[in-house]
Amino acid sequence: MSSTGSTRTPDFTIIGHRRSKVDAWPKVTGRANYADDLPFAHLLYARLLRSPHAHARIRAIDATRALAVPGVTAVISGADLPVPYGILPVSQDEHGLAVDKVRFVGDPVAAIAAEDEETADHAMGLIVVDYDVLTACMTVDEALSATGDPIHANGKANNVHKRVALEFGAVEAAFEAAAHVREDLFFYGGSNHLALEEHAAVAEYSPDGRLTLWSSTQTPHYVQRALAKALQLPERRVRVVASVIGGGFGGKTEALPHEVAAARLAMITGRPVKCRLSREEVFYSHRGRHPMHVQLRAAARVDGTLTGLHVRTVLDGGAYGSYGVASTYYSGALPPATYRLPAYRFEGARVFTNKPPCGPKRGHGTPQPRFGLEVLLDKLAEDLGLDPLAIRLKNLVAEDSVTVNHLRVTSCGLRACLERVADASGFLDKHRRLPRGEGVGLAASCYLSGAALPIYWNGLPHTTVHIQADRTGTVHVACGATDIGQGSDSVLASLVAEVLGLDLVDIQLDTADTALAAVDLGSYSSRVTFMMGNAALRAAENLREQVLCAVGRELHLPTHRLILHSGQVALRDERSPIMSWPDALQLTQASGAVLAASGTYAPPPLAGPYKGAGVGPSPAYSYSACVVHVNVDAETGQVVPSEVWLAHDGGRALNPTQVEGQIEGGVYMGLGEALWEEQSFRGPLHAGPTALDYKTPTALDMPIVHCLLVETDDREGPFGAKEVGQGPLLPVPPAVANAVYDAVGVRVDEVPITPDKVLRALDRQARGQPARHGPRRFPDIAYPPLTVVEPPAGAPQL
């Protein structure tokens, strides 16, 4: 029995049908309990004292006056959390509360617990911290040329956190032989996830030594590991429960200071402690999109065939490691999985700066080079007299192929995605033909359906699903997977219900709880539907097998003639019911079975034979293509996106409504990054850490979005599904930039494309100068010597 990948069932009753999510009711009626809503007796409230300096040494902390305030129960500082932790084994550089040094304005220095939040707030103001202020590095350039105290003592010279240089295939030869070479510089501004729910956590420590943390986290398992390490507890005595979550997008994907501090305070006080962040604090907690400098050089034949690509990136990492090493690799991982490239060079680096740490926002490390690549292709097409669709169609990665950087591609619907968006939008009739002020832009992209390798090295399953049934017909499904609003609980229930012929309401879920369910690595890298889904199928099919065998034995029918359908065991051919589901379960149990089944999933070994090959491989890739129609006011530079078409190959759409929801959300977020949002700084300070100042688009800024589902049937995906959580964001920013060019003839090689930048480029155009706004130089970075990697057999050849 193989359950990896598409189980080709002719007609599904749940899969592929539009259904509301299993948690729609509690959310719509306000009954869902987010971490901040959870009721606790004797609750204490914690606040974090944050640094007003971007870079300073802590000389002393005096909490005497704060502790004297009635209602204050405890104050802790870095000394109470001496053991460092970090999401990546190579970046164990965080403490929850600063030890010795603060590294950005907002870095937590102390935590205070009190009977209520007002008291905590007030008393926090009485903690005196003596700082020795150091020079802060607010940009990559400043960090690279800094002569003062490095941001991390054990960091490499010039605050460089990570450097990588990889070469696949004959890159120099490709450029030498190229009929046309195009080189460009891009800058992609950083942005915050802006999940609607601000982070919150409640910690409780029982007298017998068990710690429980309820938190709005995407990764209970990683938080459990980090808490165990930071607090020096055995992992099995730390339980992490992800409460109902109001969006994550990568901002809640690792243990964060408020979680660690709340846990320590709970241990010290013996009472439950809640710590919730204000919107401003979310901007300091950050882990958002890295601001990225991107330099691209492409070699092409006159017919537009790409023969080589050279990508250089510099990531502005902020103050801590976070996922940064992975982000660095991701900034160079995916171009060869989108376009057929016989030669590819990637040089990347991440630099520490005195800003809130950057991390994995939706698309993790890939939207920035994607923006550059898709704009570059637009320019290249123009250079060569091709249209933007033709140049992409000419270079598509092939289905069932292997890339020059050792990525295995299975299903690929990119051609269909491009054709469908072009068709639906009338792209070719509009491109270069609309009146000045109106334009269309096209872009394509790909993304992972889960990282093939775990974050910390281990040979264990990435996810496990346990199913347990009982005589009443109840089916209980447990998995550590975490629904952060993306709908993974609904996917889990749907897959199990489909296999067992039940309705969604018949499935009881226990998810996102490290004590009640086995490990799932978490909601990141678009892995959940694919990995949890496959494990769920295995478990459900196993249970089905047990039940059908028992029934077959009893009724003397071969198992293959039996199916589970509409809460019944039925004959496959006639679909006629022969026994109810509870009766079948009782029969099975009476035959000696325990009515339980489990499934696990670990991706096949996919990493190539080189250091760094662990980032990029995925069991399957999703593909997207996007056309944006914009109106540009040539006098004010204002850009209004008026219509968006987005085609996405996410494999089979398990629930088209959920898929469309993710596409619309991705378009929304992509437009925000393209036109408005930026985590920008004014001197050492976040320029505007409020929802009013941080310009995420409003409902009135959102255009009409047409979602076009391109359904491939991936052979390894659950019922053929891949991913949709992150991919659809990726082509949006470059499609906007290309549309702006089509509308008014100016290139803004930088996001966000704010009206002042457009107007500056228009002014240059009017003066007869190059009509471009964008970076003019690349940071002065010394990449390491290239590691030359032999391409795999079957990789694209020149």
């Binding site: 304005v105 907002g106 939040e117 004010t636 004014r682 009013l692 009135l700 704010t754 009206p755």
Partner: protein
């Protein structure tokens, strides 16, 4: 979470009681209308009044009255009580018919929820804004405080010994363009002043109200032939305060412009009347060249600071474009010219 500090909440039942309370409590008291501007300031610790004097129960401040009841100079006036909600301004039929620019400017304010709570009086008296000061205590501590809080320098223009915080009301420029009259009650009785005289160019104290004074209502007069327009610049199509607001009003007699007002908001601590632009237009046929010259005059006259959304140089450039467009838009409403009834179509970029 930001918490409100503690204060005493006082709820006078009449205008005289409110004025009396203000006189008695002096600088310790702050008026509260819809609270949409004031409460965020309190939460951020920018102000810490001991008393809030709530106006909600003061009957003299509510209601919209037409000419018959109102004390206006000519027959086609309208009196708007200070407590009229912004939402009401966008809906009011008489206002929409005769002063569409007010309803239009009101519709561009904040968001639907804030428009329901926010009031006309609160909008006109809205505090000046600056991206250095509308911040949490932590942020201000990190930045170093400025003149408008407890500091002694201006962070935007460190060389100047004044505060440049920007007037951010969307209604004020439009009211000044229409020469609205503001009725004020205070310890020494009532006075009526032109809207323009309510303001002065000082970010620390941009209102000319003296201690204990309350805005009671706004009177709009409609001499025949006036057409007006308001354009607002902001990053997004909703939610944002103005980065720039341009209000124009022209009184047309035949083809000639008898009187012109050009008022620019959010570029100084008070709404600025641009005299040079008004002179260029007044007494002339508003040809395309004149509109353009008036727009140039606005561009020359303003000096936006880097303390609200969007860069100052950009706002200055757009001020030119918006002035020209607002003038064109206003002229399109002159019945003789376009036959239009004066209704505005709110554009998403306005």
């Amino acid at each position: 979470m930001l918490h409100l500090p503690s204060f005493r909440y006082l709820a006078p039942r009449s205008l005289s009681e409110a004025v009396g309370l203000l006189a008695e409590l002096g600088a310790e008291a702050q008026l509260l209308a819809g609270g949409t501007d004031l409460l965020p300031l309190l939460k951020r610790g920018q102000l810490s009044p001991r008393y809030l004097v709530a106006l909600a129960g003061v009957p003299e401040l509510s209601g919209i009255r037409t000419a018959a009841e109102a004390t206006v100079r000519d027959g086609s006036g309208l009196t708007l009580g200070a407590l009229t909600s912004i939402a009401e301004l966008t809906r009011q039929p008489v206002l929409r018919r005769h002063f569409p620019v007010i309803g239009h400017a009101a519709s561009l304010i904040a968001t639907p929820t804030l428009r329901s709570m926010g009031t006309l009086g609160g909008n006109l008296c809205l505090d000046t804004r600056c991206t250095y000061v509308n911040r949490s205590p932590l942020w201000r501590e990190a930045a170093g405080d400025c003149l408008k809080c407890t500091g002694d320098v201006c962070r935007v223009a460190p060389g100047d010994d004044r505060c440049w915080a920007a007037v951010s009301s969307d209604l004020a420029p439009a009211m000044i363009a229409l020469d609205a009259q503001i009725r004020i009650a205070g310890p020494r009785g009532e006075r009526v002043i032109p809207a323009e005289a309510l303001y002065r160019d000082d970010g620390l104290s941009h209102l000319t109200l003296s201690a204990g004074e309350i805005v009671v209502d706004v009177q709009l007069l409609r001499p025949t032939g006036v057409c007006a327009s308001y354009m607002k610049l902001r990053p997004r199509a909703s939610f944002d305060f103005p980065s720039l607001g341009v209000a124009v009003a022209l009184r047309m007699a035949k083809d000639e412009c008898e009187n012109a007002r050009v008022v620019v908001g959010a570029v100084a601590s008070r709404p600025l009347r641009i005299a040079e632009a008004e002179v260029i237009l007044t007494g002339h046929v508003p040809t395309a060249e004149r509109l353009s010259a008036a727009a140039d005059a606005v561009h020359r006259a303003i000096r936006p600071m880097d303390n609200v959304d969007l860069p100052p140089g950009y706002r200055r450039q757009v001020a030119r474009v918006f002035t020209e467009r607002a003038l064109q838009h206003a002229l399109r409403q002159v019945p003789a010219r376009a036959g239009a009834n004066g209704a505005l179509t709110p554009g998403r970029q306005n």
